[in-house]
C-alpha cells in the first residue's frame, strides 16, 4: 500500500492540473468541432493559454459588490471546489490508488455532490442580484430533482454488485461491465450527471443568453475562477464515476497499467461532455423539470425494480 499522503497529494495534483488543462482542452475541442483551430499561439499547441488565463484571472479586480452579503459571497465559490474534491476521495483510480476505501462510497459521492448545490444557491443569493437569484433558484431545483434519480439509477449498480464500495463495484465488473446489464441506468445517470454539473446542454443556472451569467453574474477574478474550476472538476468527477460504475473502472487488457486505463476511459467521457456542449441546444427550464420528473424518474424506478427482481430471481434459483 502506498503512503496515503502520497496518494492524496498525487490525486490533488493530477485533479487540479486536469481541471486547468480542461480549459485548454475544451477550447481546442470546441474549435475542432466548429472548424476552427482554437488557442494555438501561446506555447506548444497553445497549451500556455491555461497560464495566460489563470494570470488574467489573478490580475482581474476582485470586486465584491457593495450590496452583496460579503461573508457568504466569498464562501460560496469555495464550496463547489471543496465538495467536488471531497467526492474524489472515494474514486478508485487503480486497485491500490484510492484516498479512502469507504464502504459507503456511493452514498458519500451523492452526499458531496448534493453539497455542491449550496455554492450555487449561496452564490446566487449573496449576490443580491435578480439574475443571480433566478439562476440560483433554477440551479437548486435542477440539481435537487436530478439528484433524486441519479441516486435511483445508481442503485441498479448497487443491486448487481451488492456493495456501496466503489472498489468492490469495479471488481464485480470483471466478467462484464455494468454498461451491458445497466444500459438504461447508465443513460439516466449520464443525463443526471450532466444536469448535476450544470454543463451544457443543462447549463440552465447560468444560461448566459437569458440570465447574463446566472448565479455567478456578480463574480469576478479568482472567485469566478473557482466556479470555473469547480465546473471542470465536476465534469471530471462525473466522467470518473461513469467509468467506475459502468465501464469497469481501471479494468482493461493487461498491456496498459490500470491507472492508464482509468485515465483513458475518463478522458473519453470528458470528450463526450465537450461534444455535448458543441452540439446540443439548451432545453427550456420547465421542459427540463418535466423531462426529469415525468420521464427519467419513472424510468429509473422501473430500472431499479426490474434489476432487483431479476437479481432476486437469480439468487432464489
Amino acid at each position: 500500500m502506498i503512503n496515503a499522503w502520497w496518494i492524496i497529494g498525487g490525486v490533488l495534483f493530477v485533479l487540479l492540473n486536469t481541471a486547468a488543462g480542461l480549459i485548454w482542452l475544451e477550447r481546442r475541442m470546441l474549435a475542432l468541432w466548429q472548424d476552427r483551430y482554437g488557442p494555438n499561439r501561446a506555447g506548444p499547441f497553445g497549451l500556455f493559454i491555461v497560464l495566460a488565463d489563470t494570470l488574467k484571472l489573478f490580475f482581474k479586480e476582485d470586486w465584491i459588490p457593495p450590496f452583496a452579503d460579503k461573508v457568504v459571497f466569498v464562501f460560496a465559490p469555495a464550496v463547489v471546489v471543496a465538495s467536488v474534491l471531497m467526492s474524489f476521495v472515494i474514486v478508485p483510480f487503480a486497485p491500490n490508488i484510492v484516498v479512502a476505501d469507504l464502504n459507503i462510497g456511493i452514498l458519500f459521492f451523492l452526499a458531496m455532490s448534493s453539497l455542491g448545490v449550496y455554492s450555487i444557491v449561496l452564490g446566487g443569493w449573496a449576490s443580491n442580484n435578480k439574475y443571480a437569484l433566478l439562476g440560483a433558484m433554477r440551479g437548486a431545483s435542477q440539481m435537487i430533482s436530478y439528484e433524486v434519480f441519479m441516486g435511483l439509477a445508481l442503485m441498479g449498480v448497487v443491486v448487481l454488485s451488492g456493495s456501496f464500495n466503489l472498489r468492490e463495484i469495479v471488481e464485480a465488473q470483471r466478467t462484464v461491465w455494468f454498461i451491458v446489464p445497466q444500459l438504461l441506468g447508465f443513460l439516466i445517470f449520464m443525463v443526471a450527471g450532466i444536469a448535476e454539473t450544470h454543463r451544457l446542454p443543462f447549463d440552465i443556472p447560468e444560461a448566459e443568453s437569458e440570465l447574463v451569467a446566472g448565479f455567478h453574474s456578480e463574480y469576478s477574478g479568482m472567485k469566478f475562477g473557482m466556479f470555473f474550476i469547480g465546473e471542470y472538476l465536476g465534469v471530471t468527477l462525473i466522467s470518473a464515476m461513469v467509468v467506475t460504475l459502468y465501464f469497469g473502472g481501471w479494468l482493461g487488457p493487461a498491456f496498459l497499467p490500470p491507472v492508464v486505463w482509468f485515465a483513458v476511459k475518463t478522458f473519453a467521457f470528458i470528450s463526450l461532455f465537450i461534444l455535448l456542449r458543441a452540439s446540443m441546444p439548451r432545453p427550456r427550464y420547465d421542459q427540463l423539470m418535466e423531462y426529469g420528473w415525468k420521464v427519467l424518474f419513472p424510468l429509473s424506478l422501473l430500472n431499479l425494480w426490474v434489476t432487483a427482481a431479476i437479481k432476486l430471481w437469480l439468487v432464489s434459483k
Binding site: 461534444l275 455535448l276 452540439s279
Partner: protein, 171 residues
C-alpha cells in the same frame, strides 16, 4: 432522441472538415480589389498628382476626417497645398472615393494600419500619395478637361474640337 444523437454525430464529423481559419499574421485572407481599406492619393500616368483640391471628398466625409487646402501653380493647375486624413476617425465608408471627380482619392485593400501612438494615425499628404494610378490606369484628368494648363492649350485635350472663332463670318 434520435435527432439529438444525429446532431452529435454530425458535429463530431466536423473534426475531419477543413478549418475555416486564416492563421492571420502568417497567412493572409485574400482581399477583393474593391476592399475599402487605407486611403491613398493616386497619380496620373505622367506621375503628377491627380487631386485638384475640389473639397468634394472633405464635404462628403460623414465624420469630417479629411482636411485639405487647395492651391494653384503658375500654369493654372490646381493641387492640394496640404492634404490630411485622420485615420483614427475614418470609418472607411468610401464616400470620398465616390465623390472624387478625378479618381484621385482611392481606398486600397490594406487594413494593417495599427499604431502605438494615436498621433501617428494622422496621415499627411506625403503619407497618402502613392506612385501608382490605383484602380483607374490611363486616366488623366487634365488630358480630358478643357482647362488650359502648361503644354496644353484650349482645344488640345483628348476628344476636344479646337475652339470656334465666334467672331469669324466663315461657316
Amino acid at each position: 432522441m434520435f435527432s439529438l444523437l444525429r446532431s452529435m454525430w454530425l458535429v463530431f464529423l466536423h473534426m475531419f472538415h477543413k478549418r475555416d481559419t486564416y492563421q492571420y499574421p502568417e497567412q493572409k485572407a485574400p482581399l477583393p480589389a474593391r476592399w475599402r481599406g487605407r486611403i491613398a492619393l493616386t497619380r496620373d500616368p505622367d506621375g503628377d498628382e491627380r487631386c485638384v483640391g475640389c473639397y468634394l471628398c472633405a464635404a462628403a466625409c460623414p465624420v469630417d476626417c479629411i482636411s485639405l487646402q487647395a492651391t494653384e501653380d503658375e500654369h493654372g493647375r490646381r493641387y492640394p497645398e496640404f492634404f490630411r486624413i485622420n485615420f483614427s476617425r475614418c470609418i472607411f465608408c468610401g464616400f470620398c472615393e465616390e465623390a472624387c471627380p478625378t479618381y484621385a482619392i482611392q481606398l486600397l485593400p490594406d487594413f494593417e494600419m495599427a499604431e502605438y501612438d494615436r498621433q501617428n494615425l494622422v496621415y499627411e499628404k506625403h503619407d497618402l500619395l502613392i506612385p501608382s494610378q490605383g484602380k483607374y490606369p490611363g486616366y488623366n484628368y487634365y488630358k480630358i478637361a478643357g482647362l488650359a494648363i502648361k503644354n496644353k492649350d484650349k482645344g488640345e485635350a483628348e476628344q476636344e474640337e479646337p475652339p470656334v472663332d465666334i467672331k469669324s463670318l466663315l461657316p
